[in-house]
């Protein structure tokens, strides 16, 4: 039996979005150990970070879509993980972004998020897209605003607690 672990590579002006792999683990574990991960289930031990990396790969197999590792073209550094996400318990397909330490303030989440959204609308043919923002995660809310999304409704996640659903503009508005 062949299981295909594949994700298409996307390119933006400053970034490459590619499939997550083991070379991302140290950056991934550092992020999940840091206070920055407090809105996404962290901080996590190295072992749980490893499982998180494994489930990024597994998400592509289970759903046919997933998140990409974001590489800064200039430095080849792994700067974050951005993409399409729908684990069990999420209300709708989500566009999510986690930027690693030192990569914020450059507009990377917006740039990568726009590429992932274009892929969802253009290649996958989705008609709508949301982002789940934890209450208090102002940095992430500002990215949603820059991407043109607007507050849609409240949502309580069984693990992450109170969150807001932000809805992105549809394919026509983004096209």
């Amino acid at each position: 039996m062949t299981v295909t672990f594949s994700a298409p590579e996307l390119e933006t002006e400053r970034l490459i979005l590619r499939a997550p792999d083991l070379s991302d683990f140290d950056a991934f574990a550092a992020f999940y150990a840091s206070p920055r991960a407090s809105f996404v289930g962290g901080p996590l031990s190295r072992e749980l970070s490893w499982r998180s990396l494994a489930l990024e790969a597994g998400h592509w197999v289970l759903r046919g879509f997933g998140r990409w590792t974001v590489i800064e073209k200039e430095t080849k550094a792994t700067v974050g993980i951005v993409g399409l996400w729908h684990p069990e318990g999420f209300p709708e397909n989500e566009l999510g972004w986690d930027l690693f330490d030192g990569a914020t303030g450059k507009g990377y989440a917006t740039e990568a998020g726009r590429a992932a959204r274009d892929y969802a609308y253009g290649t996958l043919g989705w008609t709508t897209l949301t982002s789940l923002i934890a209450v208090g995660n102002d940095g992430s809310r500002r990215v949603a605003e820059r991407l043109g999304a607007s507050y849609d409704r409240d949502f309580t996640h069984e693990r992450f607690g109170d969150m807001q659903v932000w809805r992105h503009p549809g394919p026509e508005a983004c096209g």
Binding site: M1, F5, A19, A54, L55
Partner: protein, 200 residues
């Protein structure tokens, strides 16, 4: 990411294949149950789905992983068995879980014996199982597989016992190997009706 081939393994009663999306409900039910208490559970649905995705992704990242155990005839799933080594695991582990209502038929023994043989045929020179000291069913299974407690081996976090599996040579045509195969044969024999409590 790549094209990872997950081989299919056949045994007397079972066929082991890579975990598929449609196999998820039984996994979820087991990890929502008390059965999973020695494997980090019980989990809520979100955590169970994430773990299932990680089981699949493990194949991509390590090149080995856990198979889904199916009945050869009915294709029903009975549990999972295979190799497991997330970060923090000192050595490669042979691991297993059987759905609670499928215990007592020797499926774990049959499946783990087969996956161990597969890995030994593909370059592994040994393996361990990290077991909760209170997980008596799994300790018993490890011992039926010929594994013995290794008190000097590094544990994951100090709360687990390390059971070391016999080496490939110790399973090559030995009395131990014949004994394991005889026990599996008994379970596979429709005339065999074991008395006492259920063993995996």
């Amino acid at each position: 990411m790549s094209h990872t081939t997950i081989p299919t393994i056949e045994t007397q009663r079972l066929v082991l294949r890579g975990p598929q999306p449609e196999d998820y409900p039984n996994f979820k039910a087991t990890f929502a149950s008390y059965r999973s208490r020695f494997m980090g559970g019980p989990l809520n649905p979100y955590e169970a789905w994430m773990l299932y995705a990680a089981e699949i992704g493990h194949w991509d990242i390590r090149g080995f992983g856990m198979w889904m155990i199916h009945d050869k005839d009915s294709d029903d799933t009975y549990g999972m068995a295979g190799g497991w080594q997330p970060a923090g695991w000192p050595e490669r582990e042979i691991a297993w879980i059987i759905w609670p209502d499928k215990a007592g038929k020797g499926y774990a023994l049959e499946a783990t014996h087969a996956v161990r043989a597969h890995y030994y045929a593909n370059g592994w020179d040994g393996a361990v199982s990290y077991l909760d000291p209170m997980n008596l069913d799994s300790i018993r299974l490890a011992e039926r597989l010929g594994a013995t407690k290794d008190k000097t081996a590094q544990t994951i976090d100090g709360s687990d016992a390390v059971y070391r599996h016999p080496s490939p040579d110790a399973l090559d045509g030995t009395q131990l190997a014949h004994g394991i195969e005889m026990e599996i044969g008994h379970y596979a024999d429709p005339m065999f009706k074991p008395k006492g409590w259920a063993l995996d």
